[in-house]
């Protein structure tokens, strides 16, 4: 899974609802390859969406701790690549 693909997942998960009742102007700021999921407003609940999307899109089942250790698109893409490499196909 590429860094861009992980970044897309972050973007989908962190995008506020269109029906948001909160104030405007609090949308997720720009998400780069080195943006920290938790600094962007991600929490443990939103993390389950990232982990489910990763599992669905590339079949790798990561945990909350994996995301805590590598909370950026670049970092998580690296974790995914290493997990795939370590599993005999």
């Amino acid at each position: 899974m590429t860094v861009d693909a992980v970044r897309d997942i972050f973007r989908r998960v962190l995008e506020p609802d269109a029906s948001s009742v909160g104030p405007p102007g609090v949308g997720a700021p720009g998400i780069g390859a080195d943006s920290d999921f938790f600094a962007l407003g991600g929490d443990s609940l939103l993390a389950t969406r990232v982990l489910s999307a990763v599992a669905r899109e590339c079949g790798v089942e990561l945990t909350f701790d994996d995301l805590l250790r590598a909370p950026t698109p670049a970092g998580l893409a690296g974790t995914i690549a290493r997990t795939i490499a370590s599993v005999p196909r």
């Binding site: 998960v13 962190l14 995008e15 506020p16 609802d17 029906s19 948001s20 009742v21 909160g22 104030p23 405007p24 102007g25 609090v26 600094a39 407003g41 991600g42 929490d43 443990s44 609940l45 939103l46 993390a47 389950t48 969406r49 982990l51 489910s52 599992a55 669905r56 089942e61 990561l62 945990t63 909350f64 701790d65 995301l67």
Partner: protein, 479 residues
């Protein structure tokens, strides 16, 4: 469903056996059964009782309030029951909280075995535990729960869940919140098995579902926000629920009608049984429950009404003229330790009976069950945890570069996160660096759920005529 207040609080009625008595009776009846399964290891009722006695022996009689690290291990359960056997009160402290917060909790909880006599009402009642809720002053509010309260609540919950020695109940909730007692205590007083497993907390639904299947879990108690995510995963992945699962309980915030419809549309249909529950730390575990059947459960999910249902047998329910839900009966806490004003504001006397003001507005459906209808104050639910925005504001306002602050909830991806709007203290503050500096400041003082996910530096904030922050008008100031 109005019970006679005078009867339910009559002191001549012999008290329920305590939860500890219930555990010891279960250990006598089922010494060889598994009390706790922990990732492949198992602890029998007899072995757990031995550990509980060892904890009590080590503490000695009458240890007062005992702080126990709140971590997901069988030792924590042995610690809880051991503190009770010694005659003490249990106070869980999450080691992940900042040191300053843990110290504030220990100080606020104090070290005494009896309830404060000046709290009134339940003087002399044995204290079971002290848990904390969000307080507007920035300090956590210690809730004093008597043994009689947890005894009454556990008895109702055990009957509601229909627990038998054949059940295997997952331990999921954080050991800092009272939901964990809903998992632990009805289970260990029924001869059933409590299941600990690291995959419960891994945040991965595939792992969770495989573990539930492997461990043959029969009862699953989830925060509503987490259950919403699980339903979304089940629908998208097409994965089945484990066949062993007979009961799912949710609670903590209103159930979303769309997610409930998704649940009933799963291939498993009406199985397992789904219970929506409601309760506050101050009224002990849960006070209301609704069976959410596919055929409709009194409410009209399509109209945005998922009921919290009817009061449990031990609960006295009352609605104020403003629609606020008041709870009475034996499961009320004794009050907030050391905070007589806060106690008097929330624990009130109506028709000579004691009630807790929940702050939750409700509506009664024609069938008598209740549906949530918002708050009477500013309190928020973040991942199922009660947050008073004023508490977060108090901590942010203590940052030297902050002139004023307003905290509110915003919806991100279907759930509530905290957002803070701050005005810099002076023209010399760097607005770009302020949010990160505030996060650092908060991380040293408060638990993670009180750190806003979004922080924005603004020019001005709205105030009401009385000079209070007007959170409802924040939008206007940002427009």
């Amino acid at each position: 469903m109005f019970r006679d207040v005078a009867v339910s609080l009559d002191p001549t009625v012999s008290p329920d056996p305590t939860v500890l008595d219930g555990f010891l009776a279960a250990a006598d009846a089922h010494p060889g059964r598994t009390a706790i399964a922990d990732d492949g290891r198992s602890l029998s009722y007899a072995a757990l009782r031995t550990r509980v006695r060892a904890v009590a022996d080590r503490l000695g009689p009458g240890p007062g309030v005992v702080a126990v690290p709140a971590i997901h291990t069988p030792d924590t359960v042995a610690g809880l029951l051991g503190v009770w056997l010694a005659g003490g009160a249990y106070c869980p402290v999450d080691p992940a909280f900042p040191a300053a917060r843990r110290q504030a909790m220990l100080t606020a909880a104090g070290c005494q075995i009896r309830l404060d006599p000046n709290l009134g009402g339940h003087g002399g009642a044995e204290l079971a535990y002290i848990l904390f809720t969000s307080g507007s002053t920035g300090e956590p509010k210690p809730v004093l729960t008597p043994q009689a309260a947890i005894g009454a609540a556990v008895r109702s919950v055990r009957e509601l869940f229909g627990l038998t020695p054949a059940d295997r109940v997952l331990q999921f909730a954080s050991l800092s919140w009272d939901t964990c007692f809903e998992e632990i205590l009805p289970t260990l007083t029924s001869g059933a098995c409590l299941v600990f497993h690291p995959d419960a907390y891994a945040g991965s639904f595939p792992r969770l579902l495989r573990m539930l299947d492997r461990e043959r879990v029969t009862v699953l108690n989830l925060p509503t926000a987490f259950w919403h995510e699980l339903v979304g995963y089940l629908r998208e992945s097409g994965q089945p629920l484990p066949a062993s699962l007979r009961l799912v309980i949710v609670g903590g915030e209103p159930v979303r009608p769309a997610r409930l419809a998704d649940w009933h549309a799963l291939p498993t249909g009406g199985r397992p049984r789904l219970l929506n529950t409601y309760g506050c730390t101050e009224t002990t575990l849960i006070t209301h429950a609704a069976e959410l059947t596919a055929a409709g459960s009194g409410g009209s999910p399509a109209a945005g009404q998922v009921p919290i249902g009817r009061p449990l047998p031990h609960v006295v329910e009352r609605l104020s003229a403003e629609g606020e839900l008041l709870i009475g009966g034996p499961s009320l806490a004794a009050g907030y330790r050391g905070l007589p004003a806060a106690t008097a504001a929330r624990f009130v006397t109506v028709d000579s009976a004691r009630f807790f003001r929940t702050g939750d507005r409700v509506r009664r459906l024609p069938d008598g069950s209740l549906v949530p209808a918002g708050r009477i104050d500013q309190e928020l639910k973040v991942r199922g945890i009660r947050v008073d925005p004023a508490e977060v504001e108090a901590h942010i306002a203590a940052h030297p570069a902050v002139g004023a602050v307003a905290v509110t909830g915003v919806r991100v991806a279907d759930h509530t996160v905290l957002a803070a709007y701050v005005i810099a203290a002076g023209p010399h503050t760097d607005p770009a660096g302020l949010p990160a500096s505030i996060v650092d400041h908060l991380r040293g003082r408060v638990p993670a759920h009180l750190v806003p996910s979004r922080i924005r530096v603004v020019e001005r904030l709205a105030y009401t005529a009385t000079g209070k922050l007007d959170r409802r008008r924040i939008e206007e100031t940002l427009a």
